[in-house]
Symmetry: D2
Subunit: 296 residues, 4 copies
């Protein structure tokens, strides 16, 4: 039949789940992966929160933020030492701190007693990042960088795999399979917005796809978290989309938190400040409890 | 500048809100319309629930459903007597009941003591539908059928305006303005899914856009409800997306409820049954309370 | 199978073409509708050209344009007397000329000896428009306004059915079927751009979908034309997309032509002037001949 | 202003072109890069054709294909020795031939006297691929794999940069800039389809975006080619979209050609056979000549 037919009841076989995703696929309807990272459990009733700045701008900034988000109950400190940029040019302000940033993350980790998640963009830095990070993050643009996935998987560290903004759930699970096949079972999926015709603001480039949360849970046992900050690119929408993520069943939420959002080195329209984060932790916990889970 | 630039900080003027949406635009940051329909208040702490079958298949079905959803706490009975179909052909099962359906809705309204929302597709039926309905629904395909909007607005009845699956928030507010300009202030916006590259199931044609809830609240005082059933087209996703809608700040939720979903005359993959609806009312109420609102 | 699978070889039945599109579907591989409108043949080797301003601004403008495009070889004069607007407010410049516009189109038709295509937006104006127009145009926003389609079909006049920017080929053929079922076989499909994530300019809202040309030809015998002006919304792209349309097999091209584009009452970024149109007619004819057809 | 506004006339500055794309941006309106690869000139009146199988399945197959497409006038032989797969599992048939494939390409290159384009997916294989290939191809999934871009750029070999199916023109030019900044000016952009709501067949995953051809030409001096085979994923649409590409101004066309398409190791729905390719060369040449260029 020559034309597109997305009608209900279309008989598509289950072969994909067996052939393409033997490791990511659920084995029974209630199958959910449960694993701990530094004592924080994924896939259970806890909904872990990842909080911190877009970039590790300085030692002072990351240590201050680590202490603050830890005090508010965050489970992981996020922050980028390496940062992909669509263009090869950096402004003076927008500078990757790279090895320095990794060192500062390590200091913040110790100072605040909070585990770290940070992005790794290149194979040659995998070991250096793995030395600091408790979870290695694969950015959206690298979702299908298969050699990098393989290399990261081999570290044995947990991996957060962000969904590319143009890729399907099928593509995403295929990428997860590249990690799982290396014998690394601790894969966390992260939805961070998709490219669509309408995102509602000229400053917003993506739409947070919350439908993918139940859709992923239907087929895979892997935990699914969301990143409302990067998806919405707009501070006022972060709270409602974070709460909606938890209500939709997300197994974690990643949030951009900065001591002085308006002066963030990058993307100043999206981070929330410490007070807003503290309040949001309470609000997220309330919603989590309403759906039988907890943030705190 | 010749290429697309959706970067943060782009300086776009507020002129649109003043020139194009003088009636739909918020006049101050906390501006929210509040109005009652048959004693049910919109825009306040209550999150009204609209429940019922896709189609008014028979008198017995609609009366039974009205009584059941009312008993579970629904605020409005939904059901279509007129039903747009992409093709001019109807199967034996999939038949509009039209004037009969309207009469049965009226009977159900009296029998169960629940107000009615139903779709009107043609100007010539506006009076007949308005005679039965407490809220007139404009379907997604008619969102920009401006003569119909004008005619419906003139009835003075509240209007639910569904967002077309290919239209922007800007288009949607423009359509609302066509109703408001007739002196009819009771307009309810309803998000029911957008066409995107990936909807996660071959049986699912749309993606519920929850980001539009805070986006609409940012610019308009009109209440915004969602329709997870039509958006997802898939029963198991209705609950998580209904809960997420409320957490995102939706001012109402529309749900397809059928006594025997597998044998529904149309779209049998999406309705939930009476028991599931009763349970979902409790779950929605819990989430609503977590965000300072209530369903019951 | 629970996740989206758009893989090659998916076995989808041909039932749709028989059940949903019995009139629009091709009956054999070479099946193409051929019909004449005022002596201009559709579906043959000729590629008819529709040219004129977005709006019938004045009698002088439309008569001047009619003579000019006719002299350059255009087959139909296009121009809107009625014009859908996303908002109910009109600037002083952007005013529909309505009945006056229809009268001026009639004058232009006689003065230049060129048949007319113009849009009809409301059932109540169908007769008035049909009195002037040789082809009745259904705008994208009304593609699924089924009562309007039925009413227009009953005039017996040829109908150009524009594709909605959010609708599928399947939806489009379904709408065509509503016209065909009234016994009106002269339906012309018109692609005018789809809403997508990226349109390449902030001033451009749509992407001209040329892939739909062979896709439609594969399943339907109806002629398919394109409208590069509305799709691209950007004058410099009109010529390449018009030429590409013909190379892709389009059975006609609609172009916005204005004596003074920069001062057009609406959408001044998209029309081309008389000289550019004259040159484009030559260029289109050259491409048409390269693919075994002709514009002149 | 809080809502999306893609209206005409929006005043967006040209700063992007100067700041973000100093090397890719046109310096004057007629600026077009011209460079030769093995004597084949890009950016001039010639429209080079890249033809060959999806995968280098065997020595016999690639040598036979090289000779045939060369005889028909193709300028480059395409074929993958390395092939990205969404899943880590390969069927028996669908096996990368890797180093063997590279060796066979080298043999075919000598046997038929035709230069080679082939994809490089990993930094560690860049030298091996560069030893064989006259042009190094970066696949869509690696468009923003910046370390790979840098590494490939440093070889000094011409680079074909495929556009990711979810990325904007802005993203694409940013990626090109990563190559140009290494002092490698021979960058060829290749459009191969975008993810959209509607692609018209359940077997087709992308829509060939021909609007990007004039859009790219408006801002960059780099040549732009298209790949209708991968975009459409459907043999009958390859010819119309190839012809449309040339009419739209494409500076080259990449085509999948296989001696026995139905038995191709991968994606058997998209390649054309030798006879069809020979005929298409004539047809493309005719369209090219109609727009002042040539294929032969």
């Amino acid at each position: 039949m020559p034309i597109e037919n997305k009608a209900p009841g279309k008989d598509v076989s289950d072969a994909d789940m067996i052939d393409k995703f033997p490791l990511a696929a659920k084995k029974h309807p209630d199958h959910r992966s449960r694993f701990a990272v530094q004592g924080v459990e994924f896939g259970g009733d806890l909904v872990p929160i990842f909080a911190g700045p877009n970039m590790v701008e300085s030692e002072a900034l990351i240590v201050e933020t680590a202490r603050s988000v830890k005090a508010s109950g965050a489970h992981f400190l996020r922050g980028g030492a390496f940062k992909p940029l669509s263009f090869p040019y950096r402004s003076e302000k927008y500078t990757e701190t790279r090895e320095d940033g990794l060192a500062w993350l390590k200091i913040a980790r110790e100072a605040a007693g909070i585990p770290i998640i940070t992005e790794v963009m290149e194979e040659r830095f995998v070991d250096a990042v793995a030395d600091v990070a408790d979870i290695l993050q694969i950015g959206a643009r690298n979702m299908q960088n298969f050699p990098l996935l393989t290399r990261v998987a081999k570290t044995g560290k947990p991996v957060m795999l962000k969904r590319h903004f143009g890729c399907s759930l099928r593509d995403w699970l295929g990428a997860a399979e590249y990690i799982l096949i290396e014998g690394n079972p601790r894969v966390i999926l992260c939805e961070r917005g998709v490219a669509t015709a309408h995102t509602h603001r000229s400053s917003s480039r993506f739409l947070l796809d919350l439908q993918v949360v139940p859709a992923a849970h239907e087929v895979t046992h892997l935990p699914v978290v969301t990143d409302p900050s990067h998806a919405t690119f707009w501070r006022p929408w972060v709270k409602p989309m974070a709460l909606a993520s938890i209500a939709a069943g997300a197994d974690g939420v990643m949030l951009e938190v900065h001591p002085d959002p308006d002066n963030a080195a990058v993307d100043p329209l999206q981070p929330i400040d410490f007070d807003a984060f503290g309040q949001l932790m309470d609000d997220m916990d309330a919603v989590a409890k309403a759906v039988g889970r907890r943030v705190k």
